[in-house]
Each structure stands twice: as structure tokens, then as C-alpha cells.
Amino acid sequence: MASAGQIEKPGPTLMGSAAIGWLPTIAIILAAVIIQITIRPMLGDFYAKVLLDIGVNIVLAVSLTMVNGFTGQFSMGHAAFMAVGGYTAATVMYYGSFRLFGEASMAGGVLSSMMSDREGPVPYFTRGDLLFLASTLFGGLVAAGCGYLVGLPSLRLRGDYLAIVTLGFGEIVRVLIQALTTDALYDADEIAATPVYQFPKYIGGALGFSGLPFYNSLFWSLGLAGLTILTAYRIKSSTFGRAFLSIREDEIAAEAMGVNTTRYKVRAFVIAAFFAGMAGALFAHTSGVQLNAGELGFLKSFDIIIMVVLGGLGSISGAAFAAIILTILPELLRQPAFLVHGWIVAVPLIAGGIALRMLAARRRADTSIPKLLIGFGVAVALLAIAAAIARSRDIDLGRYRMIFYALALIVIMIARPQGLLSVREIWERGLWRGLGNWVRSLRRETGEARP
């Protein structure tokens, strides 16, 4: 490369220059601590629970987008990794607590508590928290091992066939847990007398694993969500991210450019399963949740897929954003009195979208952005109408949430088949430039020749 006189332009890559080293990691953990200590007590239990669910769902959606979005494989069994991680961590946590602390009730400090009314001096971090951290990581690792096994068929299968294999894997996990295990042991003496290797047999069976301590808190949930986003972003914006994405874009070209496609396809499964497993571990130890394999089947996987598709396959911020919306939506649906005011948002969106669309059509510019606005407005309007009807008839809209998901998906797929953000991130220069170009193309006079 000896070309003379060439300028070396420094500058960030498409994804922007990532912040350095450990700083963001520390910042995320600190932020999680601060949220737990200062904001948590101000929130009611209801809002705290919604925020907690948002964190877990972000982890699930962002990890799934590494498989379905980055490498373009279609996994339909993500909830199974969650189940594997959840049950593994729960087994360690439940029986470990008995063995170490003599009982399985919460032995965590402030950071691990969703209870705002604990009395007396409570430590911030305890042995119980350490055990929780360890079992969460262990759950993630075991799930990652399963990810490796499921990733292997992906080398020979693609498209629909792989989807079916992952679907089958999910159902197998569910059935095995439900059929081969029995009620958890609850007697301390009995537990003390049972050899460790037999514990996995007593994890609840078809009725679910009850009696688990509630360690999950905003600290864990939002902290893990932050770290998952950071990790996913750092992978995506590195040479390994380009390798992942190249597979989804064109596998033959990727291979010809030296990408070991088989290795990266399996790696995507392993990494995604690791995070999903940890999400499962947090989920299992959440107040108000009963760990039950029956609820971690295909429907749960489908929930996560919707988040990923809605946000845009491969977009980390898109997946996180969709996870937030789709966690809040079912709660909103239970508040028709609030939803009926949706027209305040819907009318300007639709009117503005139509105006922009007409302008764009006249100037021959791309119409996908106006369509997106209209679609969003129509969705909100439909919600408002549904809420009005529900209120007058006393119907619980929350029970019909799948219908709204389906409608939202249809609208999105018509207006913007690549999802909200396609493969890009909201903070990316490319996206802003795209918007800028679009605005500029609107200003261009009709009929002017393009350069």
C-alpha cells in the first residue's frame, strides 16, 4: 500500500468511537446502584416491577438480536435458554441457601431487595448477594453450553429448518423440566441429607419451582440490561460484529472474504444464550413470579422475537426500545381511562405524516418515514378507540394484548418492513445522515436531475 500523498483521515467508524475500557462498565454498575438506592424507594411497587421487567426484557431482546439480527439465523427457542439459566440458578440458589444459610429466604442486602420497608440496619451487599451473583453467572454458563449444542445444527440447516429445530429445542426443555422433575424439597433436614447431585431432580415439575427467594431488584435487572447493551454494542462495532453481520448479509461473500461462518454462527448462539440464561436467573428470583417451565415455552420466545423484529433486526437500540414499549403496552392496556387520551398523540402524528407524505411524493423522496409516522399514529388511534370501547363495556384489554401485538406488527411490516431502526442504532451518524439526506431530498425541486 504505497500510494503516495494519501491523507489519513482519523475518525470514528460507522458505529462511532466506543468509550474506552472499563469506564462504561463501572458507570453502568454505579448507575444501577444509584437507581436502586435513590429512585427505588420513590417508586411504588407497581412501577418498580414494570421497570424490573423492562430490564429483563431488554436483556432478552438484545441477546436475541445477536442471533436473529446479527447473523440472520432464525431462532425460535430463546425462552428455553432463559428457562435453562433460570432453573440452573434457582437450583443453586435455593439449595445453596439451605446448605449455607440454613434457609432459603432472602438473605440479600439493600441492592437485592425489592422490599422498601425492611427494618433496622440492612447491609448493602451480603453473602446472599454473592451467591446470587455466582448462581446467575452459572445459569448463564449452562445456558451458553446449551447454546453451543443448539448452534451446531445451524451449520447444516438454514431458514425455516433451523427455526423448527430451535422451536423443538424449546419444547424439549419445557417438557423435560415438567415431566422429569418433582416438587422442590422444603424440609431443611431432608435437604441436608440429600446428596448435591440429586437436587436437579427436585425443581418443581409441572407445578413450578416455588419458595425461591426474591433477589432480583432494579440494581440487578437494570445493571444487567446496561451491561448486555454495552457488550452487544462493543461486539457489533468491532471487526467481530462486521463478521456476524456479513453472514446475515451474504453468507457466500462472507466466507469468500475469510469469515469462518460456521464458527461465528455458533458463537452467536453461545453469547446470546449466556445473556438469556442470566436474564432467566434474574426472572426466577423476582417477586410475584413463580418459575414455571410452562410459561417459558414458545409463547415467551415469540414475545422476544416480536421485540427484535419490531426494533429492527440487528439494531441493539431498536431491540431495547421495543422491549420497553412492549413491556409497558400490556400495562397501558389495563388503563383504558388513560389510553382514551391517545388521540392527543395520534392526531398530530397522522396529520403530520400525511402532509409529509404528500410533500415527499411530490418531491419524489422516500416515503418510508412519513409512513412510519402515520402507522404509529394509526396504532395509537386504534388503541384509543379500543380503550374507549373497553371502558364503556368494562372489558380488560390486557387479555387481548396479542391482538394488539399482531396489529402493531402488521402496521410496522407494511410501513417499515426492516423494523423501526433496521440494522442501525439511534446514535449512529449514518442514521442521522440518512434523515438529513431525506430532509434535503424534500427540499429539492421537482424534476431536478439527480447528480
Partner: protein
């Protein structure tokens, strides 16, 4: 080029698809710095040859040696790693990725960082990413694509997409570059530029080039040696002038026994 070791040595490779003998006993020797051409009528087996050389298909028989190493039947990514890069007849870019990212991916196989370093953003990782980007931007400047670096690859005009594919292939730091109809779909002016560009990359990157091309003007002007395929069989090898007047070649192209002219 007497006395030098060949950079690519192909000995009698063959490939049949069912009953169709797409390539029979194909042989080729590329010496460092060569620009050779591979021509033949439609369906002659040219692209199949490229696919055999780069590992997309495994040859039924024969051997391929790249830079002294046996690469016959290896997976494409290993052959790319050994120093053979290619472009595709029907352009295969990464359409949703930016122009810059397309080229940066080409450097992936030369990277020595691992994923943990990327996740931890170590100093080595950052230096390596900067080097990859610098290299990619330099290539884009060479191909006059630098002003469109942040755009999606799919938004480029056809001729630029072909150029981008070559830039991406060069980013893998190849010893041998295979170009499958690089001038297809280009206008005469672009074709002229392409000729200059091929000449330039051969000198600046010291790569050896093998190209498939239908446009005789392009082939005759830049190739020193031409191999002609017809129905998978090599019917002529030699310098452009001689090949052009070879009666077998004329017959293959015109479908009738021809005469030297």
C-alpha cells in the same frame, strides 16, 4: 518471468454437475505480477473455475497450489486466508452495511485481536480497529469511493458497486485476485478507468490478477496471457494476439469453423 516460483498453480481440476462436465482438466499457472484472462462463451465454465479455485466447490479431480501451499478442497475462508480473494459476477456486497464497513470486513481475516479484547475495548483492540479503518479509507480513496464511505452499499450505482467489491477483496491483503467480469454493466468511460485501476492495483498491492471478461477490448488490452474455455475444455492458451486468431477460438465464439484473420 522465468525462474520465479508460480504464485498459483492449478493442475488438471475438473468438476461435473450430474452429467454436465462443467470444467474438465483445467490447468493454469500464474506467476507473481501476472495479469491473465479467462474467456469463453456463455456457460463455458469460467465462473465454475473461480468457484473451484476459491473453495465454493470442491474439485472432483486435480490440485490447486497457492503460494506453494496445497489448498485443494479447503473451505473458502481458509483459501481467502491463504491469499486468494475474489469478486462475484452477480455482485455480492453486504448491502445494509456501509461502504466503509464492507471494506473493513475484508481485513477481518488478518486481525489478531480476539473477541474478549473487543468486548473489553483493550488498547490493542482499539489500535487494531484504527488500523483497519485507516486501511479501508485508503482503499476507498484509491477507488474514489471515500466520499460515500458512510452510505449503505446498496445505494451505490452499479459501477461503484463493482469497484467496492474489488476494494473489499483487496482489503483481505490477497496475493491472487480473481475478478469475475469486473467491467460488466459499466459504460465505456468506466471501463477505461477500470483498466487503469487494475493496472494500478497490480503495481501498488503487488497482486497477481486473473480476470474473466466478455469485453474483448478490456481483455486484449490488459492481459498478457489468455486462457480460452469452451464447454469446460481449455481450447487455447497464449498471448492475446495469438489467441484472437486461433481458429478454434473463432469457431467457439462464432459457432462455425473460422479462419485466421
Amino acid at each position: 518471468m522465468t525462474g520465479t516460483e508460480p504464485i498459483l498453480k492449478v493442475e488438471g481440476i475438473s468438476k461435473a454437475f450430474g452429467g454436465l462436465k462443467a470444467v474438465q482438466d483445467f490447468a493454469l499457472t500464474l506467476n507473481p505480477g501476472d495479469v491473465q484472462g479467462l474467456i469463453g462463451p456463455n456457460g463455458a465454465g469460467k465462473t465454475t473455475c473461480f468457484n473451484l479455485l476459491t473453495g465454493v466447490y470442491r474439485p472432483d479431480a486435480g490440485r490447486v497450489q497457492l503460494n506453494g501451499a496445497e489448498v485443494t478442497g479447503l473451505r473458502p475462508y481458509l483459501i481467502a486466508g491463504a491469499g486468494m480473494a475474489r469478486t462475484f459476477q452477480n455482485i455480492r456486497l453486504f448491502p445494509d452495511l456501509s461502504v466503509l464497513d464492507n471494506v473493513m470486513l475484508g481485513s477481518h481475516l488478518r486481525t489478531r485481536q480476539n473477541m474478549t479484547q473487543a468486548i473489553l475495548r483493550t488498547r490493542f483492540h482499539r489500535a487494531d480497529e484504527r488500523a483497519i479503518e485507516r486501511r479501508a479509507r485508503r482503499l476507498l480513496e484509491l477507488f474514489e469511493l471515500d466520499t460515500r464511505a458512510e452510505e449503505e452499499a446498496r445505494s451505490l450505482p452499479y459501477g461503484d458497486q463493482r469497484k467496492l467489491e474489488i476494494a473489499r477483496a483487496l482489503a483481505t491483503d490477497p496475493k491472487v485476485l480473481l475478478l469475475d467480469e469486473p467491467a460488466a454493466g459499466m459504460n465505456p468511460q468506466e471501463k477505461g478507468e477500470l483498466r487503469g485501476l487494475i493496472d494500478r492495483i497490480r503495481r501498488e498491492f503487488s497482486v497477481t490478477v486473473l480476470l474473466i471478461e466478455h469485453d474483448m477490448n478490456v481483455v486484449m488490452k490488459i492481459c498478457e496471457t489468455i486462457t480460452v474455455l469452451d464447454y469446460g475444455v481449455t481450447i487455447a492458451v497464449g498471448p492475446p494476439g495469438r489467441v484472437q486468431s486461433d481458429p478454434k477460438v473463432i469457431e467457439a465464439y462464432l459457432g462455425v469453423p473460422g479462419e485466421a484473420h
